[in-house]
């Protein structure tokens, strides 16, 4: 029988030690069979003076701890160490040269644009840009690396000690970013004729090799998959604001997440953010790889959290291992990992002199970031949090809102941009950037509503939709559909006609059936082609029928 004997031992050092004594998880079918015979057994260090207290851990006593490594493709025109284009193409090995193919004698030269983007990130996360920073070679043998090493940064990254504020369910939290460094993206592999283990052969495309990447490493500050998702969404927004990241691009965001489950008692009551390094060390963690979006991160980590908690509750050990997120199946699977950190034999990249760019932090400007802009939208335009948040979701949306709010009433502008425009775009799966050239037309439409030329309903349901679906201008739609607001005389004429033609409804109304008025309103609307204002019509009808 599996007996959970999770014990907390308080040593003289007051360092709590988590100990698990249990049998292996027999369901780990995908793991390396050679490891199956070894029972996992973690035994306690000898307790000091009987200070040990044993307790069975309940679900509520466990806390999830997550730290992230986020790889972000920087949106430069060329690769980080050569002048090949970073544009995605249909043909393999089209954007390659001796440098990114790792041909003998080719020398890397650093792309200034990638360094600028890195400094912008550093500024946005309020990181230190050290006086001097340099590159290292990380050695491993895999065909996605043509040189058998990856140029990256090791002990002197370009950004250190930053933070990013995130709002999680209304509570603001600051996430520590330990470091962020520049490196080159590997190429991409296709395993042909089977899965990664069973393929017949491998096809290699080096178009992606050398695309600049920034690896952003957080402290283990997250306590739930929801927090991770909120952080990643915020990070994506910030990166897009900086104009250095394209979220739409395939593979532009790749996440590795370290997740461990530790007893709640390990968390200092006064400071819930602080977990001792010892406690984290004592708990086995899994590194989940192959996550490619903030939604994927939430799903992958929720799965992994449940898997580990279940294992602990059944008295099984959580193995320290690397797991692969299988998006299609919605599960994580064990991966064999061959290398330990020392096996990468990091050494200095002698072909690249050091960087001294700490003063760039002052020289390079970055735009107002989403969180600051959200707050300002509340103060300046009186928007509630939801509207402010929608309107700052991308820089293009926020810029357009400010453009419209500058000319019209900020509330009208908010309705038009946040609800009507974004709603219709969303429905059609169109990004605002795709209709950038037509935003003036949207403004013209808001002007027509503001000047009372057309009804808000027609503007939204007919004009805007037709603009998006048929590519017509607002004035064309208004003219061709006869949507110009009908003059008062025409409406009055239609009211009189409707009363004459529908005596039955009139009698119903007069005998106290107030609902009959709606039928008459509908008749008038029909006669005016929908261009009259229904509440005006309602009033006119009532006035007419009173007489």
């Amino acid at each position: 029988m599996n007996v959970i004997a999770l014990q907390l031992a308080n040593q003289r050092t007051a360092r709590p030690v988590l100990a698990l004594e249990c049998e292996r998880d027999v369901h780990r079918s995908e793991s390396d069979p050679t490891r199956n015979s070894v029972p996992l057994r973690f035994t306690l260090p000898a307790p000091n003076q009987g200070a040990m207290t044993a307790q069975t851990v309940q679900q509520g006593d466990l806390v999830t701890v997550v730290g992230l490594e986020v790889h972000v493709q920087l949106e430069t025109d060329t690769k980080i160490f050569c002048g090949c284009s970073t544009e995605q193409t249909d043909e393999p090995n089209e954007n390659v040269c001796p440098v990114c193919l790792g041909l003998p004698g080719a020398l890397p030269v650093l792309n200034e644009g990638a360094v600028e983007a890195a400094v912008k990130i550093g500024k946005a996360i309020d990181a230190d840009i050290p006086e001097e920073t340099r590159f290292h070679r990380k050695n491993y043998y895999y065909p996605d690396l043509p040189k058998n090493f990856q140029i990256t940064q090791y002990d002197e990254p370009i950004c250190a000690d930053g933070e990013l504020e995130v709002s999680v369910e209304g509570t603001r939290r600051s996430v520590t970013i330990e470091r962020a460094h520049l490196e080159e993206d590997p190429g991409s592999l296709q395993h042909v004729g089977g899965g990664i283990d069973t393929a017949d052969y491998t096809l290699v495309d080096y178009n992606r090799a050398g695309t600049p990447l920034m690896e952003i490493v957080t402290a283990p500050d997250f306590r739930s998959p929801d927090e991770v998702r909120a952080f990643l969404a915020e990070l994506e927004e910030v990166l897009e604001y900086l104009g250095i990241f394209d979220a739409e691009r395939d593979g532009s965001l790749r996440i590795d997440a370290n997740l461990s489950i530790i007893p709640e008692a390990e968390i200092d009551g006064d400071n819930a953010d602080e977990i001792s390094a010892d406690a984290l060390e004592a708990a086995n963690r899994t590194e989940v790889k192959n996550i490619s979006s903030h939604k994927g991160a939430q799903k992958a980590l929720a799965y992994e959290e449940t898997r580990q908690k279940n294992a602990i509750q059944r008295g099984r050990a959580v193995e320290q291992e690397t797991r692969h997120w299988d998006e299609a199946r919605g599960i994580t699977v064990s991966m064999r990992s061959k290398e330990e950190e020392k096996d990468y034999r990091y050494f200095e990249e002698a072909d690249l002199p050091p960087l001294r760019v700490s003063d760039w932090k002052e020289e390079i400007a970055i735009p107002e970031l989403p969180s600051a802009r959200r707050e300002r939208f509340g103060d300046e335009y009186g928007l509630d949090e939801e509207a402010a948040s929608k309107l700052t979701s991308t820089k293009q949306v926020a810029d357009f809102y400010e453009d419209v709010a500058g000319e019209f009433d900020p509330d009208l502008a908010a309705t038009w941009v946040a609800d009507n425009l974004l709603g219709e775009l969303n429905y059609r799966d169109i990004e605002i950037t795709e209709i950038e050239g037509r935003l003036e037309e949207v403004k013209r439409l808001v002007a027509l509503v503001d000047e009372d030329e057309i009804t808000a309903k027609n503007a939204r349901e007919t004009v805007l939709r037709s603009m998006l679906d048929d590519g017509r201008t607002p004035d064309e739609v208004v003219a061709e559909e006869g949507l110009g607001k009908t003059s008062g005389d025409e409406v009055r004429q239609a009211v009189v006609e409707a009363i004459d033609e529908n005596q039955g409804a009139v009698e119903d109304y007069e005998s106290g059936d107030d609902g009959a008025i709606n039928f008459l309103v509908g008749q008038v609307m029909q006669k005016t082609g929908g261009s009259a204002d229904p509440s005006d019509v309602n009033q006119l009808l009532r006035a007419e029928l009173e007489d």
């Binding site: 430069t76 025109d77 060329t78 050569c82 002048g83 090949c84 284009s85 043909e91 393999p92 090995n93 089209e94 954007n95 390659v96 040269c97 001796p98 193919l101 030269v109 650093l110 792309n111 200034e112 644009g113 990638a114 360094v115 001097e132 491993y140 043998y141 895999y142 065909p143 592999l189 296709q190 395993h191 089977g194 990664i196 283990d197 069973t198 393929a199 017949d200 052969y201 491998t202 096809l203 290699v204 495309d205 080096y206 064999r336 061959k338 290398e339 096996d343 034999r345 690249l352 002199p353 050091p354 960087l355 001294r356 760019v357």
Partner: protein, 94 residues
């Protein structure tokens, strides 16, 4: 790396071979162990090189983010042992 490089041991050779994804037979392991030791010993010659001044203090060597011509795909693949549809082709790797 090993503390005493002049005596490379077979275990280390096997480990390095595994990292490099190279399969070695037992007699090859012996052969490489001897060769590792020879090579490492040879590198010790560097200890005899007198210290010299560093090269000129280079820093911030960068190029503008401007595209340059890449290789023609045909040229890029010319040295490859095997190709398929514009890809480099190799054995299965996991």
């Amino acid at each position: 790396m090993s503390e005493s490089p002049e005596t490379a041991d077979p275990e280390e050779v096997r480990h390095v071979a595994q990292l490099a994804r190279v399969g070695l037979a037992d007699d090859e392991v012996d052969q490489f162990t001897r060769q590792f030791a020879d090579i490492l010993e040879y590198f010790e010659t560097l200890d005899e090189v007198p210290e010299v001044d560093r090269e000129a203090d280079l820093a911030n060597v960068m190029r503008p983010d401007v595209e340059r011509d890449s290789l023609e795909s045909e040229e890029a693949l010319r040295n490859a042992a095997d190709t398929e549809d514009g890809y480099f082709k190799g054995p299965n790797v996991s």
